[in-house]
Amino acid sequence: MNDWIDIAPVEAVPQRGARLIKTVHGCVAVFRTATDEVFALDNACPHKNGPLAEGIVHGASVTCPLHNWVISLETGVVQGQDEGQVATYPAKVSDGRIYLGAAFLTRRAVA
């Protein structure tokens, strides 16, 4: 089995935006920054499960649309006064396409 799953061309996600990926265990949000880095995180804010994919992306952070919690895309850690962490998954851009680490699917399946 391949280590990386080919998801889509990078242009399919808007810069400073996100799209969703459905898995059996729930939705994962794939983010693309202004500098074309990609990140994959659970699409649920640790606060009230807000859909992070709908948030405003700035730098390497996203702001949850429900109550403005700011989450690091790199670590999933909540920034500022609030506390919490979102699960993150390996993601990369190669030859203009977005890849997610395959292991995360099985790991999620086990968990």
């Binding site: 799953i5 998801i7 935006g17 405003i56």
Partner: protein, 808 residues
Amino acid sequence: MTQKLVVIGAGMASGRVLEHLFENESGFEVTLFNAEARGNYNRIMLSPVLSGEKTYEDIVTHDADWYDTNGVTCHFGTHVTAIDRVAKTVTSKAGTIAYDKLLIATGSAPFIIPVPGRDLPGVITYRDLDDTNAMIDASKAGGKAVVIGGGLLGLEAAAGLAERGMDVTVLHLMDHLMERQLDEAAGFLLRRDLEKRGIAVKCRASTRAIVGKDRVEAVLLEGDETLEADLVVMAVGIRPETRLATDAGLSVARGIEVNTQMQTSDPDIFAVGECVELDGQLFGLVAPLYDQAKVLAQTLMDSPAVFTPKELSTKLKVTGCDLFSAGDFAEAEGREDIVFRDPARGVYRRLVLEDDTIVGAVMYGDTTDSNWFFGLIRDKTEITDMRETLIFGPAFQGGAPSDPLSAVAALPRDAEICGCNGICKGQIEDAITAGATDLGAVRTTTKASGSCGTCTGLVEQVLAVTLGDDFVIPAAQSICTCTDMTHEDVRRMIKSQELKSMPAVWQACGWKTSCGCHICRPPLNYYLLADWPLEYQDDPQSRFINERKHANIQKDGTFSVVPRMWGGITTPDELRAIADAADKFAVPTVKVTGGQRIDLLGVKGEDLPAIWRDLNDAGMVSGHAYSKGLRTVKTCVGTDHCRFGTQDSTGLGIKLEKTLWGSWTPHKLKLGVSGCPRNCAEATCKDIGVVCVDSGYQISIGGAAGMDVRETEILCQVPTEGEVIDVIKCVTQLYRENAKYLERIYKWMAKVGLEWIQEQVADLENRATLVARFEVSQSVYRKDPWAQHVGRAETYQPLADLTLEAAE
């Protein structure tokens, strides 16, 4: 041995001399004469006393206790009639007393123009508290006042009298007001602001006579125009009061001649203040007088000091007329101008450059940066490197951009903070270290910001820099932590620098983050699209999710969908289509909204384009229930059905909604149109409300029915529907161009004032320009976003579905 110091005149200059002497325990035995029946008070503050903002008690500098504590023998209300230099005595009705040192501080006397009738009762000058009280008394009866002289003093008098309810006309001999301090453009803006307060201004007006039988009745001008007058204030200028000195045989030109130690031609006689002349120069502003006082105090204490005249600046103390001028701004060979104008805000800035330095500055309407410009003039700073952005002030200079605190922190200890009192940063720092930890304490111990008060902000910044987190400046908020600039600063930059993209703003305004944050990006996106509707491309990624997806996000991540119902009118076919859509997409909740339409709550994100397509097919468009833009126009049924309706309120509501829909505004915008004053559409708690009456339409603005509840205030009444629509387009555009993001109309109105909005709307030419700009913007935005997004349905779907892959 104690020396006897006799002081003639208890004004601001001599008062300051005494303070210095007592502070240094110099041991003089002081006798003080004053022709006015009181001691030293802050004469600069007479204008606020006249206008009623302050009382005499507020402006007393030295009270009876102070004189008593310092052992001053006071003769108030006592004219000194003679000085005998040989015997070294002065004579008054209190007798003859001896002096070792004599200080003449007789100040100045108002210049009376030699016209017939100048002695009539009701003709007064504006120089001291008695004049001020005379004006206050005269204004109690109301009536007409004529102020002769359109300089600093005359205008402050005019504003004060107008404030007290008099009908005021200012006569000015020259072509524009304050011609010594202002250029023509600033003079024009000043005149316009004064006229807005009901003060009439006549320039090139030469007084021929003041006429009246027992008291003043009128002023006769050259050209035979007659102005009725119950009160005439002469404020054409002042001249040094030198009679005593002349009689005593001292050397007197225009003023009493002194050397740089403030010594007159008699070595034991000194002079300070407005009565002196040094190298042909007279002194009328407080800053040099305080410098003179300091020098003289040192001279009297045998410590060498030299008085050097410095560059001066002027500010007018009339609330609402913000002007500043400094240096020389006459046009001349080799001089260049940099000019900035914002006609809508009444802002004018002009810098005069010569040899890469600023030699003069005139500012009107926004004088926040005046201290900085004044510093550049005074220090003759070379401005070549910052020339391009110079006019925008210190916030826009390179290096440490836009942080006023770091600019203050970088000032040397000898940088002057308070020009009136000559207080440097170091003295304020020392006072703070010694325990003066708030503005009041700094003012008490150092006098900084205690005279004219315009440096208050700077003093607060010094406090903030010195005390760090222990002192919070009550100041303008920056947009967010990405920038130190306020919303107003950034918007000014967007317009003046023609910044048409977000990266351009970040670059030009020195953003500290690479691409902003969720706080600054939505307002920037709004400002850019509102100011450059044709050039700027709306950025969905800088919008909150509701505006990006044209639906309202709910707490479970689903959305609500609200189709537009123009003016609250719907049809059976539309209702059927809504019902069908609700069934098809399994909408859990269908609710009637407060804005007279129907809300479908609980729609999944990926279903949005499909439900929109169905609603579009039935002829419906987005209701923008999610936008900082036009929401609804609520109506009643008006003349169509109602027994009381006076106009077709429903029809007008529909027209308004069809005109305004799709427009983006600083915050949400809700309208109401009621067909009669019974007001069933609740128009008077909307952002903009129309109440129909028999004779036309009352348009009112600034209502609210949310966290704050407020009734609208009447903007104007117009006779036709066409005018209603124009006025509302005009006021909407005015709001779009001027309000801060997330500021409803009522909050914006509290800042700019209803009157200003009324003037903007009443000026038909201006109204037409604003309407035209609104239409330009609507040519881009008066479109259904749902229809546009139906074509991009795939972007609402998941990027990939890995559920199958995982199952394998």
